[in-house]
């Protein structure tokens, strides 16, 4: 069994045809992990025993004729999504031995289908970063070149899928944390519409931006995973009700794709831009109209994001104080318990964002930074709304370049932030976005994958899957 190429769709067919068992499928993935993960370090913990037990249960479901789309499918879970009783650390020292008190809604949904959980995957601490170098437990390596990062923050999830160490994975995307590692590892990554997937049991980072989404080997697999995890959840106040317009959007495909040309040219590497243009040309050949689209405010996306995200980080991280759960450093006064726990528990980027966020929210500066950013965010949303009157989707590169070298950007926060230039805009607008592999570029004799990003209107994930499948087929 070649776990590198095997899709969920093909495994479903083979499992239902009894060509192999769910246990054999899980064993094949555990073997791949044993062989490769020493070098790649995609997993922080592998749950071999419980995975085998879940696979056996899945085999019973299949034998009874009760198989669902993900029954017996081995998946990897990002280390910021809670599974009751399991350690979940967000790759932070502050939660090193924290065990989840309950399971995330997405986990309950996958469990109900009989999916198999292989383990928890590495990430940038609390999902802050674009390379996994901010993990407190070491960097994940890119399976295409071990000298390079897999992207981030869901780098472990992307690397696990790319290396055949999971059939699919869950990640979270606040500013590109699913799509950018998907691009760098050569897999499909989807950030759903804000509110499409319940966030109960996802550790909050930027609450107006965060979404859980799938990483997979094909657009079809990403669609299967999304269908299995999405839906209204009364326990998440940002969850879209079933009858919400942003869920039921039914858009007929006009086969028109918009490109904000002026924005695309900003800071993208030459051969990545060439590959982007080549994909557009192929889509044109396949019957799409490619149209220049004016989006005057999207150029502000990155600076707007790096005001709003740290502001929300500074409030969300306040809960980690050594009192209710997680690390607690003993001290003489409660004030020192807070400060010493946070000093010992948080890494450099988390601290940087807490401090930046505290500044932009502080009295005297909040108007110029936070409130201004919120106003410009509204303009960006308007740009998208206007654009979708005329086009099905907006096309952008996923990231400005292919995977970069370990250590190349880790000492320069602004260089790392620039990785997110094309991805944060979909989080600011709340629109769904997908990254689909679209070819490779050469760096130092290695072929490195590059993703093609599509952004559609709220609730129009089906548009992304339709065009995304065409991108897969015209390569």
């Amino acid at each position: 069994m070649d776990t590198m190429q095997l899709t969920i769709a093909e495994a479903r067919r083979a499992l239902d045809a009894k060509e192999y068992s769910a246990l054999e499928l899980t064993e094949a993935h555990l073997d791949a992990i044993a062989k490769k993960d020493g070098e790649i370090h995609a997993y922080l913990e592998v749950w071999a025993d419980s995975a085998r037990a879940e696979a056996k249960k899945a085999d019973e479901m299949i034998a009874r004729g009760e198989a669902m789309p993900l029954t017996g499918i081995p998946l990897a879970i990002k280390d910021n999504i809670l599974i009751e009783g399991r350690i979940v650390s967000s790759a932070s020292k502050i939660l090193e031995s924290y065990r989840a008190s309950y399971s995330a809604t997405v986990i309950d949904k996958l469990r109900a289908q009989g999916a198999v959980f292989l383990g928890r995957t590495n990430m940038d601490e609390f999902a802050m970063g674009s390379s996994t170098e901010n993990s407190a437990y070491g960097t994940t390596k890119n399976p295409h070149d071990l000298a390079r990062v897999p992207g981030g923050s869901s780098g472990g999830s992307a690397a696990a899928v790319a290396a055949g160490m999971a059939m699919g994975a869950l990640g979270s995307d606040t500013g590109g944390s699913i799509r950018q590692p998907a691009s760098h590892c050569g897999v499909v990554g989807l950030k759903p519409t804000y509110g499409a997937v319940s966030r109960l049991g996802l550790m909050s980072m930027g609450s107006s931006l965060d979404q859980i989404g799938p990483l997979a080997k094909s657009v079809e697999d990403a669609r299967t995973l999304l269908a299995s995890i999405s839906g209204y959840d009364e326990n998440d106040s940002t969850s879209l009700p079933a009858n919400s317009e942003q869920r039921t959007a039914n858009r007929k495909l006009r086969k028109v794709i918009g490109v904000p040309r002026a924005f695309v040219k900003s800071g993208v590497e030459t051969d990545v831009l060439a590959l982007f243009e080549e994909t557009l040309a192929r889509l044109e050949k396949a019957g799409y109209e490619i149209r220049d689209t004016e989006m005057p405010n999207v150029a502000y996306s990155l600076p707007v994001y790096y005001v709003i995200c740290p502001a929300e980080v500074s409030t969300n991280m306040a809960r980690y104080d050594g009192i209710r759960y997680g690390l607690s450093v003993p001290a003489d006064t409660i004030q020192h318990v807070y400060t010493k726990t946070r000093r010992a528990g948080f890494g450099a980027e988390v601290r940087r964002r807490i401090l930046t966020g505290t500044f932009v929210l502080s009295s005297g500066y909040a108007d110029a930074y936070y409130r201004k950013a919120r106003a410009v965010r509204q303009l960006i949303r308007e740009d998208f709304r206007r654009a979708f009157d005329a086009v099905d989707a907006i096309a952008l590169p996923t990231a400005p370049g292919p995977a970069f070298k370990v250590g190349e950007k880790s000492q320069d926060p602004l260089a790392m932030y620039a990785e997110d230039i094309f991805s944060v805009t979909a989080n600011l607008s709340g629109t769904p976005a997908i990254s689909v592999p679209s070819g490779t570029v050469e760096r130092e004799g290695k072929s490195l994958p590059v993703g093609f990003q599509l952004i559609a209107a709220h609730g129009a994930e089906e548009t992304l899957f339709a065009i995304g499948s065409d991108v897969e087929n015209i390569k």
Partner: protein, 97 residues
């Protein structure tokens, strides 16, 4: 970024202990980040009515007990670093003079 950013004061506000060495690095990094994000000042967009047209709405639940009292007490207390009976134990917060 014209003004000097008082990182030590920000650290105090956000309950972070910062070493002298880290403070020196942050005193350069945070102004760099702020001067980068300052480009948003060139954009239009009024800060006066941030909610207008945003489609945001408040989400409330019905008044009443969401679940029976004590249902999750054990699970949540099990995660606490220190406890005394059904309470989380902390250092004294208010001192008598």
């Amino acid at each position: 970024m014209g003004d000097k950013v008082d990182v030590a004061a920000l650290a105090k506000l956000s309950r972070l202990e910062v070493s002298a060495e880290e403070l020196r690095a942050l005193e350069k990094e945070i102004p760099d980040i702020l001067s980068f994000v300052e480009t948003i000042k060139e954009a239009h967009g009024s800060t006066s009515s941030p909610r207008a047209g945003s489609g945001l709405q408040n989400v409330m639940r019905e008044d009443g007990e969401p679940h029976e009292s004590g249902k999750y007490t054990k699970e949540l207390l099990d995660a606490a670093p220190a406890r005394e009976g059904d309470r989380i134990l902390v250092k004294q917060v208010i001192k008598r003079k």
